[in-house]
């Protein structure tokens, strides 16, 4: 249930994100989820992609700094209270979320969650019978 998220350190320079996505497009890497966290000087792009190892290799070759980070992808119903339920569980277990990003459409809502101990997050959410995505749900064959 661990998903490998690609993290990219980007300087605040125009065209850098375009360059990144161009390389992924050329290598037929599908992006499932993406978020950009920005400061005044730099940004961190976090993405869940279909071929993380390949993406890491081709991006590093092009001079990007890539980290692979373990995250959890939770699948929940697209209705009020879904995210609250998950966060309440994590709070009860005293789990701190480092960051998350989420989107919902057509009855499905997905949240990518990063915490210091991802394995613990998985264990807790599974105990509560929440549906987590596995690598095979995302990774391209």
């Amino acid at each position: 249930m661990l998903i490998k998220q690609l993290s990219v350190f980007l300087e605040d320079r125009s065209g850098r994100l375009t360059e990144l996505t161009r390389i992924l497009a050329e290598n037929d890497v599908n992006i499932t989820a993406l978020s950009v966290a920005e400061t005044a000087d730099y940004g961190i792009v976090r993405m869940v992609v279909g071929r993380p190892e390949l993406a890491k290799k081709v991006l590093e070759k092009a001079g990007f700094s890539i980290g692979l980070t373990d995250v959890v992808c939770v699948n929940m119903p697209d209705k009020p209270g879904s995210l609250y339920r998950i966060l309440e569980i994590l709070t009860d277990e005293k789990i701190n979320i480092d960051y998350m990003y989420a989107f919902s459409k057509n009855a499905v809502a997905l949240a990518v969650i990063r915490a210091a101990d991802v394995a613990q997050v998985i264990e807790v959410l599974q105990q509560h019978r929440l549906q987590l995505l596995s690598q095979s749900d995302i990774y391209q064959l």
Binding site: Y42, I44, G63, F64, S65, T69, D98
Partner: protein
């Protein structure tokens, strides 16, 4: 062991008598043979015959790098070409190279001071020394070479580059001493790790590193990487090359071979001689050089001098590790800043690399310093909180070291331009 205890442990009075004798003779040679110095003495109203003591050195005119350039290539030679047996040249970053000539006696003197240097670092005839300084017009390779042969060590004259061959020779020939620039030593150390060579196959004990400024933090790093004790050798081709001064086992500054190269520290603005312990520009008078002696040559290196007997037994004056060059020194809001100080802060942090750039601007009549630092490719966090923590720590450490704040910008690995020679570390936009 001390190679030449008569000279290296002489008392101050003996040393001054010797220096005075040599200075008098050098001034005479200059007056007779070098139009440049003859004119200079006349212009400044100096009667060369009146110079009898080293105490009078401070009355004499300086020689600068520009003088060397103006007299390119052989204008400052005091001997006819028949007596010159070798020419070295250092490639200047701009314009003409700096040319230095040597007579047979100069080459022997050079071997002597390098032999003293190596002995100071505990190197002896049983050692095998891998000389990975460049051989050629650059003084590093050949300078170390003759001194190493003089102490009777086995010399591997491998020169610089070709890292794979360096490692093969180092292991197969059981080199005990490595001589090269500190940055190349660090590179060799990293390569040993990368190649997976067993530490048991590396017999290195001591490193003799110089030709570029390096910080104490860099020394610690190299010593750890190569499992050796690292010594600083100082020199510049204008004076002779490596072997102008050297660290002893006490590592409390470099002993200057002042029986040949008389050092002074001056205020670079007023040109007044400064006392022991005060930071200023290092100046050398090469009293015994035959082919191209220099009078009060301004090195542009900034350091301090300390007289007094060292625990190693030597009485030779010590100079501190050079903080940088006057050319490199920045004055930011009235505070002197050297790139080496910024480097020492960055070297202490695992999350950044020593690749950095300083950008100085003037905004609303106030100087600002931006430090662009590359994050470490192998060791960075994707959490903004941690990255900001790194930024704040650099900011804090810079402020506590320099006393002024800086704008810290984290940048991508390999985004700061690399150069083969001197790194372009400073962009000063104030004078545009």
């Amino acid at each position: 062991m001390i190679w030449n205890s008569g000279r290296e442990c002489a008392d101050r009075q003996q040393m001054q008598e010797l220096q005075s004798r040599e200075l008098t003779a050098m001034i005479r040679r200059m007056q007779e043979n070098v139009p440049f110095y003859r004119d200079k003495f006349r212009e400044e109203g100096i009667e060369p015959g009146d110079i009898r003591s080293v105490e009078q050195l401070k009355q004499l005119p300086f020689t600068t790098k520009a003088d060397l350039r103006d007299n390119y290539p052989f204008g400052l030679f005091t001997v006819p070409q028949t007596d010159v047996v070798r020419i070295h040249a250092s490639s200047g970053t701009t314009g003409k190279p700096t040319v230095v000539g040597y007579t047979q006696t100069d080459i022997a003197l050079w071997a002597e001071v390098v032999a003293r240097s190596l002995t100071m670092a505990g190197i002896h005839s049983g050692d095998t020394i891998q000389i990975a300084y460049g051989y050629g017009p650059f003084t590093g390779g050949l300078g170390l070479h003759y001194g190493a042969e003089k102490v009777g060590a086995t010399v591997i004259p491998i020169s610089t580059g070709n890292t794979k061959k360096q490692l093969q020779f180092m292991t197969d020939f059981k080199a005990t001493i490595l001589a090269c620039t500190p940055s190349y030593a660090a590179h060799l150390g990293e390569s040993i790790l990368k190649e997976g060579i067993s530490p048991a196959d590396i017999k290195l004990r001591t490193g003799v590193f110089g030709a570029e400024p390096w910080t104490g933090e860099m020394r610690t790093e190299i010593e750890k990487l190569l499992n050796i004790k690292a010594y600083d050798i100082y020199g510049l081709s204008e004076v002779i090359g490596p072997g102008v001064s050297m660290e002893c086992e006490c590592q409390c500054g470099n002993h200057v071979f002042e029986d040949h190269f008389i050092p002074e520290i001056i205020d670079p603005d007023t040109l007044e001689v400064l006392p022991d312990g005060v930071l200023g520009e290092l100046v050398f008078t090469t009293v015994t050089k035959e082919a191209m002696p220099l009078l009060r040559y301004r090195t542009r290196d900034l350091t301090r001098l300390h007289h007094g007997k060292c625990d190693c037994g030597r009485t030779l004056v010590r100079m501190e590790k050079c903080l940088g060059r006057t050319d490199d020194m920045l004055i930011i809001r009235g505070v002197n800043v050297f790139p080496s100080q910024v480097e020492s802060v960055l070297m202490e942090m695992a999350e950044t690399t020593p690749h950095y750039q300083l950008i100085i601007r003037r905004e609303n009549n106030l100087d600002t310093m931006e430090i662009r630092v590359e994050i470490n490719e192998e060791n960075w966090s994707d959490s903004i909180r941690e990255l900001e923590g790194i930024r704040r720590r650099i900011d804090h450490n810079i402020k506590s070291l320099l006393g002024i704040g800086a704008i810290i910008k984290l940048v991508e690995p390999n985004s700061i331009e690399r150069s083969e020679g001197k790194a372009k570390r400073i962009i000063d936009e104030r004078h545009r």
